[in-house]
Symmetry: C5
Subunit: 371 residues, 5 copies
């Protein structure tokens, strides 16, 4: 296996790193390989704004109840004490915290007392598909997000908060939560664009050069689309339940925006399903190209063998050592034999030409079926 | 493959040209390649009619509230200021305007305060399949349509307005909106007729000449039917929600007509699903033709090789240089050898004839495949 | 293409002969090839009965309101004036009349004021599958049926009316409507029986003689089952909505009979789905028979080539012209050489026999797998 | 192929023996091949019991209203007068009686006035799959069952009535009806067990001996599972509607037992669906075994041909009759030539061995395919 | 068949060991091979705890009503009297007890008077997949579990009870029931992890070494995933009905935990469906690898045959014994002939090289199939 080849395996770990069966519910099982948390705090109102990197979660306390919206933005889940400290300060439910660290959750919305817990899956494509779980808690005046790794799609949003662009600073925490979810959902579009281009390339590849790398890439494509589908389908459900639940935390105006995010979500599902259908079509194209190629190989073999085997037989006849073979002594015996062979070959060629075997059906692509 | 062959690629861009992830919702991201807008205004009542080409959207103001129905018919989405001017005059919602310029929306109906926003997808077939997003705003006394490119299926409708044919001038804006949607839905029928003919042609092609262009055309057909299906399925949903919502903007009489449009929509879906099933049957026919062909090639090879290889061996035996081969000196040795060879060949031919291999199974179609 | 071969194409016209896109709704677009209408009138009560062929639809007026049930039975849709005259007399809705002449409607039930409009699809099999649209209007005291062509499945019903057999003369128009729909639904059973027999025949054909006509017949079968399915599925829906709607036009007793018709409809769908599954199994049997056959051909080639190619080589060795080949001068050199060849051939035969290649797996069918 | 092979054809008659289209509803069309009816009467209370074979249905009258439960158990539908006599005595609905003799009904529950009509399908496996329609009428104090042929799965139940075992004699007619349905549903389990064993056997057959009988058996298996599925799916629906309808005829206690029968029904559906998935997997295994076998055949051919064709060529070169071929006169020319040939053959063998072609991939199973 | 090969068969017994059809409902049919029961009793409150191995079920009586929670933990179903004794003491319903011993139940929740009966399926993977039915009765102050065999996934839970870790000792019987179900559901994760690893391994195996063990393993994988799916799907339904039923036995707090278990259940279904899609992709990869391999074999054969057959023919020509073949007497005749042959071979090689046949498409993976 080449190194590049391993790239698809991490996706199959979807059943791993669970709390051991039978543990008490609400146990936080920290993955030892998870990066240490980095905490950033954003606090804002329409006319005030504060951004702070925190080294200790205990510092959060001093900012509470001073701004209409507080956003705790945490990257990395590798320290149980930090997570517990935040959970305690904001009174987050232990079952929700268990899901924060078990990073293979399906997207969902759970209501716990006065706060909402939402899980989403943010995707990026950078040589290969990365999917990262984003956990979001929404309270009356705070939003807390937990991400697995540094790096996300929220930078334009952070800029909008910093520069007071758009309506975000004027609105409450629910609009911030919507904006985060919207950014996550919109992160699927550039990724899907990449896959759209892959499919286009593979369509010609499969039709004209059906080799193993082609098959591997089709298989990888199916893998990735399956992973994307697993990530976005539950997102649609969770947005739908958010819209239906009529929660007091979410204003009617934000609900209108959430409906828009829901529409985008449905559109993404639509595109993924279309790509999945195209991908299974690709496999058929690939297999039929392989068959075509086998047909071509067999035709070449058959033509050559069919022409020369009878000729060899004719030569063999006059290579026999019988004493009484009068034609061997004819002056023009040899030229006549050669002529007979030539006519035999010609007869076969005409036969094959009429059957249409002499024109290839697997021509290499020419200029007219370029993209 | 002809030049038309480039046609399938644009369809895969369905994930492109989105507002960048993380932008403020409601941002209008104008596609730089979009054509400049052309605005036509139709204003009519049962006995008055006015048609006007406008160079500046500000001119619309003077026609408002003078006619019971005002239709702003805009082609081309390449100028943000024009779009914003219209949005401001008619108080159109920013989220809806964002969807107007992001021309890869699913068909839908959204209710914003006193107006409705509907997205539909109009199709034409002209060498290749074109699908264009039509955005429609319906207010109490106005209809606004936004199209991507000049050229549409509304000309017969415009003539009916101009010549006061049918009931359209007697009825309100909701009937105009219905008539536009009905024309869009009916635009699918001639396109589907084209595909029906394609399938008929390909059925013979796949059965009797399974070459690569045939495979490519089947694959393109599947592409196009998938695109049509993506366009019409959400249309059915949006018509259904229009019928169910009991909106005050839509009179009971128009509702009756919308039910009819809904029936047409379901009929189109039915035809597309039938065509899709036929298309997957086509691929099977194609692959089984390929197999048949391979069988045929192998049979020819086997017959030729099987007949001549033993004959060559016989000739080889008497071509050996042993000194004590008495038959070589017989007077009739040579004719006997030839006779032996002829009998061997005949025996094989009879064997193959009894196996039925001498009659081709890939003959061009004759009268014998009646049902 | 033979003439018989075209038989399946008419089915693909399902997208044709529509009113041009953009026409005013309710326009009657008469198909120029449609036959001229023939009108028959049945009027009856429990003890009176009248049957009349009408040349002019205006004659209908004199029979109205004289009998509890009036059945206008019209064959052929080729005269707009006749259709319009009937529509006016019975106050039939223009949208319904548009569907009467657009003969590719899905089965449905529409309620228009005081009458019901139902579309059904009647099938017959007579060399090939024919499907014909039957439009039925049910009013308080009348039933009007529109058919595309003369010839239908209603003759036993007409006899029951004429001879006052069963309860039909004693009951109202709704029972006549039910009896017509029941006759249409029951027309599927003999057609399906024909297809059941086709499948049985094809099962042996595909397993023992996988030639192209077999593939064409499987493909045609799939076509026809798809057409039947498209015809009967919406019928089920429309019967269901008829049962659910609790219409005053339909008495509780007739409702009981309609439930029975609904059960038959579901049974037909069940049979069609079973046949469709069997048909896709058929294609698999066909393809695996093809593979089996290729295997057989290749085995014959391999056996012949494998036996004779080494023998030819041995003969070739002693056909070389080296001067120092002592065995050429041995008295028993030649017999020894022949013996060596025979042993070689025998060794290969034993090898193949042990591999099981010498027994065919594609024997022609023998008496034990007859039907 | 054994004689049993005829077995699959009767199943395709599922569209046959219908009342002719257009007959009056409620007509009893007796199948002339149906056996004559045999009537058995069971009458019981907690402490009384009577079992009687009746020759004339008129005898039933004397037993009515004397026992809390009366069970008329009729085998054979070949006499219209008997059926009509029973229908009249118990006031059974003509539509239900029509379904009794049309023995291809889907399982269902219909409510007619004071009695319930239920259709079920009882299966047995005895060389081949038999499915028989059981019609059951349940009234306040009677149960009537109609079967097509003598022989059923009710004998253990009859013994429980005779010997007063279990609670059956203490309870009313609804519990008898439940017990009959439960026995019918439980009759699927031993049949399914037979199919489970078939699948196990076929799994090895398909993998190691992919011949035509194997394909035929897979195809038959699919047929039978499809037939079982058609029989049991509607049974689930009818049990479900029985549970939901809250009928006064059925006591809450019997309802609890019916829920248990419903669970068994769902379990049977589950098993059938599992078997169907395994069966389609079987076809794939069969086809891939065929491919494997073809690969093997081709490898043998290729190895033999590839080794001996070049050798034959070398022999041919020195078989040429040129006068100036110095090596022909060398003393060791012949041994050198033989050595050259041996080395060539060896080179090819090493090449194939390194490609892994010399080890068969279709060996009979050995210990190496553990998981 | 090797011994290992039989491993998948037990799964097909899913239709076996049922109560004989027609038996009285509620009959306990003990499987003679079932192990004898072992009974453990756990009784606890927040501050008291008692664990006891019981030899006689009658001993249970003395512990009743003394502790808020009593857990009877029974392994092995081989003794009818023990089961009956427990059923009588706790008043368990006979239909439920019938399901306890018929160990092929679907997961379900049934409500019987004052207790709940739940069936779940616990899985372990230990060389092969084991699935075991766990029956659980929940009453106000007791939980009774019946398992088929000793050994389960509850040990961590038992430890939590013994050591009073977590909240379990402080809560009622419903929380114990939840904890048991949660442990059962969590037992699927490590099993699925094993299958995820199997799929990863098989992906390379199928692409680079498509032999029969590979096919068998794919087939076994499909078997196992089907079995897992059958086990977990009904679990989701039964948890869902538990959440919906609003039973008084289950406190709102436990309901919150059950919702969490339900989420895990949905996640497991998600993973299984993903694995099932990957597995069918695997079969395609396997088949296309087989095709690739056949192509490769055919190409080798064709290249060798195509090069040497014409050469042999040329040699054959000059091996003929005609007397008048002037070139045989040329001094450089022989070298010229050899040169001609070399050129012919070269021409073919160049032809094949340009066709791309000389580069293998089935090379072991190298760096060139990056994406």
């Amino acid at each position: 296996m080449s190194k590049n080849h391993k790239r698809r395996f991490p996706r199959l770990t979807l059943a791993r790193r669970r709390t051991p069966p039978g543990s008490a519910p609400g146990t936080l099982t920290i993955d030892p390989a998870a990066p240490k948390p980095e905490i950033r705090l954003f606090a804002y109102s329409a006319d005030a704004f504060l951004e702070q990197k925190l080294s200790d979660p205990a510092q959060i306390a001093q900012y509470r109840n001073k701004y209409p919206v507080l956003w705790i933005d945490l990257d990395g889940l590798g320290d149980e004490s930090v997570l517990k400290s935040i959970a305690t300060q904001f009174n987050l439910h232990p079952l929700a915290m268990e899901d924060v660290v078990n990073v293979h959750q399906r997207s969902k919305v759970d209501q716990y007392g006065d706060h909402l817990y939402m899980v989403s899956r943010m995707v990026t494509f950078n040589d290969r598909l990365h999917a990262e779980q984003v956990s979001l808690f929404l309270g009356r005046d705070f939003v807390i997000t937990f991400q697995e790794h540094p790096g996300d799609v929220f930078d334009p949003l952070r800029d909008r908060i910093r520069t007071n662009k758009g309506r975000i600073r004027k609105l409450a925490a629910d609009f911030l939560a919507y904006s985060l979810i919207d950014a996550i959902i919109d992160s699927y579009f550039p990724v899907l664009e990449t896959y759209g281009e892959s499919i286009e390339t593979l369509e010609d590849h499969a039709a004209f050069k059906p080799d193993r790398p082609c098959m591997t890439r089709i298989h990888d494509l199916r893998h990735d689309l399956l992973a994307l589908r697993r990530a976005i389908w539950p997102q649609r459900e969770s947005l739908n339940s958010l819209l239906r639940l009529e929660l007091p935390l979410i204003t009617p105006e934000t609900r209108l925006y959430l409906r828009d995010a829901y529409d985008h979500c449905v559109q993404i599902i639509d595109i993924i399903e279309t790509y999945r259908e195209l991908t299974s079509g690709l496999m058929e194209v690939y297999l039929s190209s392989l068959s075509n190629r086998l047909n071509e190989v067999m035709k070449v073999l058959t033509i050559i063998a069919t022409i020369f085997i009878p000729l060899s037989f004719i030569a063999g006849v006059w290579g026999m050592n019988f004493q009484h073979m009068p034609e061997l002594r004819w002056t023009f015996g040899y030229p006549l034999a050669i002529t007979l062979m030539a006519l035999t070959a010609l007869a076969f060629l005409i036969y094959f030409w009429r059957k249409g075997w002499l024109t290839s059906t697997v021509d290499p692509p020419t200029n007219d079926h370029k993209q």
